[in-house]
């Protein structure tokens, strides 16, 4: 397999893997947080305002780990520095050869 094909294959595979594993942890964490908050609201409906506010903030924080993984995979697919290096090198080699 050529260099450029290898870079493309590994980038695409790693992007999928990043999102896959990056989604597991936050999903479990958010589920736990939401379940706990619902149980607390059921027990203390008076405190629902404060509970849901902190729940939103915590969910956003938990979710940001998933978002980091998503950003990394987007960079791997759409703005891959290795890919642009390889395409430039190939173009330069073709220019020198032809």
């Amino acid at each position: 397999m050529t260099d450029i094909g290898l870079i493309a294959a590994i980038s695409i595979f790693t992007a999928g893997l990043t999102v896959a594993f990056g989604a597991i942890g936050p999903a479990l964490g958010e589920a736990r947080a939401a379940a706990q908050a619902l149980a607390s609201i059921a027990q203390q409906p008076d405190a629902s305002g404060a509970i849901s506010r902190t729940l939103f903030v915590s969910l956003a924080m938990i979710e940001s780990t998933a978002i980091y993984c998503f950003v990394v995979s987007m960079i791997l697919i759409f703005a891959n520095p290795f890919w642009s290096w390889a395409t430039e090198a190939t173009a330069a080699a073709a220019g020198a050869g032809g």
Partner: protein, 245 residues
Amino acid sequence: MEITPDARILFEVAGLPVNATIFNTWIVMALLTIGSALITWRLQPDVPASRWRTALEVIVTAIEAQIAEVTRQPSTRFIPFIGTLFLFIAVSNLLLVVPGFAPPTASLSTTTALALTVLVAVPAFGIASRGLGGYLRTYLQPTILMLPFNIISEVTRGLALAVRLYGNIMSGAVIAGILLGVAPFFFPVVMDMLGLLTGLIQAYIFAVLAMVYIAAATGPVPRANPSPSSRERAATDVGALDGEK
């Protein structure tokens, strides 16, 4: 596909390229400033308030109430900064529904700039309320051993603020773009509606986190005694939550 509006150059002013991010930021700023200037044009205290003025008052009092609830401190000092952050992010995220408008918050440079203002505002408010020595001493809490970790947490919270907002808004745009190729007409609309909700929540989160960081720097000095007041607990709890991450 482009994952940031930075790459789209609209026109050049005196040789300087103006990209979509800068242009759309100015649109949002103009909308906010001209809108509120027009509404508060010739304010009079006695006449029955117009609808627009009532709408503005609803927004401002809601922000005030939220700040008071989060910090348990008088909100007058914070509302210019926190309210501006919230309104700017919320309006630029909600303008997602305008065709051809790329929200400036979908660019990492905008969100980094917003996070940098928070990073500057935290020491500024802290020094203003505690004095230079009092603020610097908070870095030594609870022991001097925590100094490097306190400094690292300052930097990482700024990084997290920037990447969180950027990632959320950018992911909405990218997913809508991908779905546009796969299943046009219906699913992109649903995802854009979800994007509106996410955008508003992220604006709220950004403002609340900035408020929590500032409140932790200006609030009562946390001590190691076993019975902190509820106010200190509220401020330190959310701060500790972020510090753990």
